[in-house]
Amino acid sequence: MEPPENSSTAGGGGGGFEDAKKIILRWDSSASEEARDKMIFNGDRQEVDRYLQAVDEIQKSLSSTSISDAGGEDQEKVNSAIQIAMARLEDEFRNILLTHTSPLEEDALNTAADYSSSSSHYSSAAAAERTGNEFDDEDNESTTLDLTDPIRRADSSSGSTVSSYRSTSSIREIDLIPAEAVSDLQSIARRMVSSGYLRECIQVYGSVRKSAVDASFRRLGIEKLSIGDIQRLEWDALETKIRRWIRAARVCVRILFASEKKLCEEIFYGIGTAIDDACFMETVKGPAIQLFNFAEAISISRRSPEKMFKILDLHDALMDLLPDIEVVFESKSADSIRVQAAEILSRLAEAARGILSEFENAVLREPSRVPVPGGTIHPLTRYVMNYISLISDYKQTLIELIMSKPSTGSRYSGDPTTPDMEFAELEGKTPLALHLIWIIVILQFNLDGKSKHYKDAALAHLFMMNNVHYIVQKVKGSPELREMIGDDYLRKLTGKFRQSATSYQRATWVSVLYCLRDEGLHVSGSFSSGVSKSALRERFKTFNAMFEEVHRTQATWLIPDSQLREELRISISEKLIPAYRSFLGRFRSHIESGRHPENYIKYSVEDLESAVLDFFEGCPVSQHLRRRSQ
């Protein structure tokens, strides 16, 4: 290349400048048809080099004229040439960018999404398996991970041992624009910036890349919804959207935004200060705000119990993404995005806490009064127990989120509408475990209230037995729940349903068995043979009537758990059968020696034994209790 000799003295007439200017003018798109229709960078590489050299030449002239000839006609010429060249370069820059704006390949997005979502797809059912997958991710993705950041990697892998459901960083940058094009863009950007056209460069870059990001957004199904819209949507619809959002957010942060960032860094590498960052923010600030806006709207939506688990999914997904968000949006100018993500996360945590307390409130005050027929398990019990076993599936998250004990005790003490709970004996439990126990306490409290609506005291006890037994079974059925509730409290619960069973037996059978006592049957004085026949006949009749009544009603009662049902029947039989047998043994002869013994001794021991088998089946006995043996 020739030195810029004479450029100042010759008034821009020096060979270098003049040649350069010719090239610039040849490509002045406002002047010739040909220049308008062709793009330099689409054509001959030699022409590209020639043009770039010409631009350099003009820039050199600019720096020398500005000293010696400030404000003169020469500078005017040089400035004009620069302007033409810059306008051209801007168009070339735009054209190269536009050539490569195709949105991310659908396949790439899908596989990427499935790939990264495999680790955290935890619906309640999948909760157990979710711990297993993270490590696969880590291995696979470490190949594309930014290896220049070992500290963070070390952090995240050590973190994963503590809470393994949070996968480690899985940023996966891809090449949005091929390397040759990037290097062209870079050589244009350098010249635009050094000529003071930085703002133009940023604007063109931002506008083109922004529309590419928009296209990828559409492909990912990211919608623009206002907070008002989201408040109005049905929860079912939102659940679907949350699931889709989690998937889309992973792709956006880890692939889309990360790749945009890398592209900016490559193109603007070594040019000016923080230009890459300015371009990156110009491109993704709007999309990032749009993306997070959804999670924001969810985080402030009205709290109700059914939202808990999707909110936790969202929380976990965002928590999972936070380290990546911090990397992708590390710059000062991206402060607001990092801050927003963190705020949403804490608001989701707040929402989860709020929902839990809302749930407790709802359990305490669930108002239904109609007794469930047959004393079986109340729908509330099922709902609450399913709910808290789901909670235990989200234990790892919730243990960190639930930091305060349930609001009980002193605040409500003396309040008959709220149960008491002794925390003293539950020392060493996490606040979450205390909440779960508290929920069981208020559930029982509510059920106790409901049991009062049964007219039959025995049925009220059976109802409590069934429900507390169900609670115990649910707790035992989930290792997480069992661990949190603890064996001590579980023993208490077991004692409670046993107690209900005992109370039931007392309420029903004491009076029945009372018929089988000896007192009142003997005529005073003559002990051996002095049995009052009439009293005995009356006794048998009373017993028969009572037993028939109990049999008739309690066959319609229900103990859904077969083992519990069996146990209770055995327990009944153990008391009833020996008593009846011995009563029969002692007094049978007195009846049989009289008239119509079958009117008084209607049932054999075997009859009773088989009648007990009809109890608690929840269906009316088809035929009247009859003597079946004989």
Binding site: E90, N95, L98, I202, G228, S336, G354, N361, A362, R365
Partner: protein
Amino acid sequence: MPATENQPSFLGRISIRRNQVSAMDMNHEQELEDLELFQRHVADRFVELSSSPQSDHHHQQQSSEPLLSVGWLRKLVDVFLCCEAEFKAVLIMGRDPSQITKPPLDKLLPELHERAVKALDICNAVSGGVDSVRQCQKLAEIAVSALEQKPYGDGQIKRAKRALSCLLTALAIEDKESSHNHHHKYPERAWSFGKRGGNSHAGKDRAVVVPFRSLTMVVAKNWSAAKQIQAMCNNLVAPRGGEPTGVASPVYMMGAVMVFVMWALVAAIPCQERNGLPTHFQMPRQTVWAQSLVGLQEKIGEEWKKKEKKGCAGLLEEMQRMEKLAQSLIEFADGYQFPGEEGKVDEVAAQVEELAEICRRLEEGLVPLQLQIREVFHRIVRSRTEVLDLLENAGKVTPTIG
């Protein structure tokens, strides 16, 4: 009470009040006293806002903030934040939760929440609008940097013209709310020449046609700022005089302040779909606290009516001036011949200096304004949560399970 309240003493007052409240039962007298204090503070704050100079006297003082300038909007948002904090104190502190479930609060609070959600969307939309103002600022900066060196060469003039016409297009698009697709367009830089007709680039040309959506619009497609404002006004009814208003009164005042502030922001800053933005809404002009507010509303309403006729950019003072300057500078550039007439060039230099000054103000003001708007967002969310908690404690919330 002096009209110029600064923040520290205001906060001090709150904490004094808190002690008072916790020390004694919230009886009726106390409530009236609180209410009066709240009214007086609201009045004071808006008096101060409306004492800002008119926009056409902006050269008077450096420190003064013309109506609807970025500086003024920042003050406006500050006023909102102060009112909101005090309102919450009046509403929540020391209040017997059971009151919340009874008339009039049982009806007023849900309305307040409805309004709050709408305000949140407006915050987001306005915050996006601030970004489009920044885009315009960038374009103006290009023009400034091209026209700062003299004499104006052909190259500089062309560069400035390109930036300015792009700026005017951007302003026009920001304002073209009736456009059928409702999308704000990104103020895209035009190609340096007419529409490219080259057949060899047909494939790529299609990409140019794809509408460049605004960087910043985050709200839904059919979302309309005007409709949100209208909906916010809908159930905002002053408690009737003569009735023992009690707590209904501050709730109404806060509603009015919120609607006014959101309305002013929407009018000033580019915002999706402002067609049909009310120019007037019911304010109790007879009350002391609302007087300055009504005055401001009338002034801004007038400006908005003018704007609707003329079809200029949003009411943001800087944008309006920017538009005028851009038009004038483009005219100059169109007829420019090197080296230009001396008088004309000096005049242009002054305009460039003014444009540069506007850019500086925007540069200083827009980011803080955006942060403040975010703070408003947070504040509204937090208050909403606090009131919900209060409701929960009042045992009101009894969702059925199952």
